[in-house]
């Protein structure tokens, strides 16, 4: 495969035409009747008619890039004609009728916004909508956050959680641990959301490592391994931590375990970069889900927190995210934000408004805020119900193995512990789609398909070892 360092020899230039004058393809460039007859032929036909070889594309060496696995899964699901099919791979909330759900508060607020005649559609500032930024960070850090009181936080409105991670990663690569130190180790959990690797890699980091997280044997957190990796990590390494509802395992550290983690990180000068995509969605309680981030702040850490409002507001395609920066003092944060502005300027210039407006309007109005919390709880409660129901069915069937992890895990995803072969069986024989890792999205379960899914898992586990 050709790349910049190993260029292929230059391709022969397009053959010269026999005549000097080409028949003009358009009559005149300034006056050409709109709605002219469709041209049958074009360049290719002309070349063919003259009996010449088609010049090859200057992009002939560009290979097809690999698509993301979960998109392929969804595509396969969509094409599957079997009426029993179940999609447990998608990363979005579904109602009990397996439909997407627009939060009632979102409907209300979007109508309000559409009715506003005075709405100005000028570019947002580079760092985003001010009301959104302050409210978003406040939600993560808490109303009574010492960092907010001491005015040492900053916010950057971003294109979803991915955008927030990217801005933070670009900044850290440019300005953290030296200048342009792309070799600072970045640790992501094993396993983690695939995009973590991609985002930090694209931001220029050259040394991305994993830290122990999932213990397959005991189906829980490998705290020993995690702490050991932190002890061994070079000082100032960056650690990507999931604030709650770990993706894909659904397994979070307990408060006591977080305290141990924080203690090691403080001693080793490790930088916490939180990924908070499920606040409110995990337990149904916003403050409970933000406990870890707030604890770190109270312990005096400087940290980044990439927030996504895709799931807890159901605003997936409006790309609403926020990067919260917590520093030692306001001056540091000011300088950091000034550099982030430069970074945003060459990424997307300034962010889109609609999603941010919806979130800002909701968070800043007590009535809407209450309604939002109820909507979030509705989603979280349905997931908790599905967890309980799936577990009880699996146990009732006498499915080999232990299944308490289904209810002990938290958030949208569950690491079932199914092997790759068992997953294959479920997809091919039972038309139940899930990731090879055994990750399922609880939202894909409904009261209508619970029995079928439980029975299928039982089959897979008993038939395939």
């Amino acid at each position: 495969m050709a790349d910049r360092d190993n260029p292929l020899p230059p391709k022969p230039s397009a053959q010269r035409l026999g005549r000097e004058k080409l028949p003009p393809p358009v009559k005149d460039f300034r006056i050409d009747a709109f709605g002219a007859q469709p041209r049958t032929g074009g360049f290719r036909a002309l070349v063919a008619a003259l009996g010449l070889a088609m010049p090859s594309s200057i992009f002939a060496d560009v290979p097809q890039a690999q698509p993301v696995l979960v998109f392929k899964l969804t595509a396969d699901f969509r094409e599957d004609p079997d009426p029993r099919k179940v999609n447990l791979g998608v990363g979005a909330y579904r109602t009990d009728d397996c439909q997407p759900w627009v939060l009632p508060v979102v409907r209300k607020v979007e109508h309000q916004i559409a009715r506003n005649d005075a709405l100005n559609h000028e570019y947002l500032p580079i760092l985003g909508l001010p009301e959104f930024r302050s409210n978003a960070s406040r939600i993560a850090l808490g109303d009574d956050s010492p960092a907010i009181k001491e005015k040492r936080i900053g916010s950057v409105q971003s294109l979803g959680g991915t955008g927030a991670l990217r801005v933070g990663a670009e900044f850290l690569r440019k300005w953290y641990n030296g200048t342009n130190n792309a070799a600072t180790p970045v640790y992501v959990s094993s396993p983690t959301w695939e995009n973590h690797n991609g985002v930090f890699g694209a931001a220029g980091f050259t040394d991305i490592r994993t830290y122990h997280y999932w213990d397959a044997a005991k189906r829980g957190l490998d705290l020993q391994g995690l702490l050991q990796d932190m002890e061994n990590a070079p000082e100032f390494s960056i650690f990507v931590l999931h604030a709650c509802a770990h993706n894909p395992t659904g397994t979070d550290p307990t408060p006591e375990q977080w305290e141990k983690i924080a203690s090691v990180m403080k001693r080793r000068f490790l930088f916490p970069f939180f990924d908070s995509a499920y606040q409110g969605f995990a337990s149904g309680d916003l403050d409970r889900d933000a406990w870890a981030v707030r604890y770190f702040v109270s312990e005096g850490f400087e940290l980044f927190c990439a927030q996504s409002f895709s799931k807890n507001f159901g605003l997936y395609n409006e790309r609403v995210g926020n990067l919260t920066v917590v520093g030692k003092d306001g001056d540091n944060v000011l300088r950091v934000l000034s550099q982030m502005e430069k970074i945003v300027r060459v990424l997307w210039s300034n962010p889109p408004a609609q999603g941010a407006r919806i979130v800002a309007t909701t968070l800043s109005s007590p009535e809407h805020f209450t309604m939002w919390k109820e909507n979030v709880k509705t989603m979280a409660d349905r997931i908790l119900l599905m967890r309980a129901e799936l577990r009880s069915r699996l146990e009732a069937l006498g499915t080999p193995g232990t299944w308490n992890h289904i209810t002990e895990q938290i958030g949208m995803f569950s690491f079932t512990g199914l092997t790759a072969k068992q997953v294959e069986y479920l997809i091919n024989e039972k038309h139940i789609y899930l990731l090879p890792s055994g990750r399922i999205n609880m939202c894909g379960l409904t009261t209508k398909n619970l029995d079928y899914v439980a029975a299928s898992i039982y089959e897979a586990v008993t038939k395939i070892q």
Binding site: F43, A45, P100, V106, E122, L124, L159, G160, S310
Partner: protein, 447 residues
């Protein structure tokens, strides 16, 4: 806190833009005018928003079937389809042959970013980009970030007070083979047909990679289909190129970040491969683009009645701009302002060069509270019935105070030339040691 901040060594980034706006906002003079807004303004000093847009927004907000499900990485397919059609024309051979398509991006900037990343990885040629000074802050910064060297060129001749698209010949003659040339706002390019054919030949011979940028389709002639004639010519000539398409201006929806990166390739296979690579870049930056703006535009462009309504209001705005040009020129003439003002009506689009000297601009800013950048490039939509007289009078005053008025003239001889901006190369301006090929000299003498 006992430990030092890990951000201790992070320097404060200097503010590169917005100083003019800051000064304007701090100014307390009641007559102050800001003529450098990026956006298209109306007479009421609010940004232009065609009525069809809020109407469509309202309709979409009340659509019960609408959900917020993730778009694919490349965005809304229907939007890419209408955007491509708008750009190259519904009956384009490239569409028929399925070799044009693209990615829905975060505005024009997002498109430029994706293109720059792709070119960094896959373009076999020198890492050199030619662009106009007005593109320095957008294309320039992004390409520099990707490690490209930026070289500037300009059509605007401050001596002849005219925009000469023919300067492209100089650019292309002197550019290394396979350089990248950014062609901003091709709707405003004017050349006789024969010269276009010649230019295309030279570009083909030197394998120049063209990167078109269409920031406001429809704002040149008032008709979006007329504005892209040049682009369509290059398609028909079998060129492969990129085009970043920005919809902010044409629909007044700046804050929803609607853009497209369109790629024209020679084969469907190449197009698919290109798109897959662009998808992978988008995946780690924004995952997928925001939906609302693209849904509004797709709705408007796909619905014949809404489309007609949109085109009508666009035409109205452009006619207003043309009228403003005439008015400004006429008022200056009536005041007896020294100088030639033909260039006011000869330029097109939203932004134009005033043609006055840096000192005269300074006079306007400091003494008359009329804010224009040093280049003298201003936004015509910022001039309205309330401020046009004040502006004309102020320009008159500035010229009388610091003459002379702008006049087309020969550039000074090379001995007396002191380049104002060492990065700014004005093709056609003879410099020490510059060699011109015989053909270029012949072209120049024929102009």
């Amino acid at each position: 806190m006992p430990t030092l901040s890990v951000f201790l060594d992070v320097p404060l980034a200097p503010k590169t833009r917005g100083r003019l706006l800051d000064d304007f906002q701090k100014d307390e003079n009641p007559n102050k005018v800001y003529l450098a807004y990026e956006v298209c303004m109306t007479g009421n000093e609010v940004p232009w928003l065609p009525p069809v847009v809020p109407k469509t927004l309202m309709k979409l907000a009340h659509d019960p079937s609408q959900s917020y499900e993730y778009l694919p990485e490349h965005g809304l397919e229907a939007f890419i389809h209408v955007a491509t059609e708008l750009l190259v024309g519904r009956h384009s051979p490239a569409i028929v042959e399925n070799r044009v398509g693209g990615v829905h991006t975060i505005g024009g900037s997002g498109a430029i970013r994706l293109a720059a990343m792709f070119l960094k990885d896959w373009h076999r040629g020198p890492r050199v980009v030619y662009l106009q000074p007005s593109q320095k802050e957008q294309h320039g910064f992004i390409f520099q970030e990707m490690g490209f060297i930026i070289r500037e060129y300009t059509f605007w001749d401050p001596y002849q007070l005219a925009s000469d698209t023919g300067k492209l010949f100089d650019v292309v003659e002197h550019a290394p083979e396979r350089s990248i040339v950014v062609l901003y706002n091709p709707g405003s390019f004017i050349l006789p047909r024969k010269r276009w054919i010649k230019l295309a030949k030279v570009m083909k011979r030197k394998q120049i990679f063209l990167f078109f940028d269409v920031p406001d389709q429809g704002f040149i002639s008032g008709d979006p289909d007329r504005d892209n004639k040049i682009l369509r010519y290059f398609v028909s000539q079998g060129f492969e190129f990129f085009c970043s398409q920005c919809f902010s201006n044409s629909f007044g929806l700046y804050d929803e970040r609607i853009g497209c990166l369109i790629a024209v390739a020679l084969s469907n296979e190449a197009l698919l491969h290109i798109r897959s690579q662009l998808d992978s870049y988008a995946r780690y930056m924004w995952c997928s683009p925001p939906a609302l703006g693209s849904r509004v535009i797709t709705t408007i462009l796909s619905n014949p009645a809404l489309r007609v309504e949109w085109k009508k209001s666009l035409r109205g705005v452009v006619e207003n701009i043309m009228l403003t040009r005439e008015k400004v020129k006429e008022k200056l003439r009536l005041l007896g302002t020294p100088g030639s003002w033909e260039h006011i009506t000869e330029q097109d689009g939203m932004h134009s060069f005033l043609g006055i000297s840096v000192d005269q601009v300074d006079y306007l800013v400091t003494k008359k509270h009329i804010y224009i950048p040093k280049t003298g490039q201003f936004n015509l939509t910022c001039i309205n019935n309330q401020n046009i007289d004040y502006i004309a009078q102020s320009i008159n005053e500035a010229i009388l105070a610091i003459g002379p008025g702008p006049q087309p003239r020969e550039p000074p001889t090379k001995e007396s030339v002191v380049p104002e901006d060492s990065e700014l190369q004005v093709p056609g301006l003879k410099r020490e040691g510059t060699k011109f090929s015989g053909l270029a000299a012949l072209l120049r003498s024929k102009k």
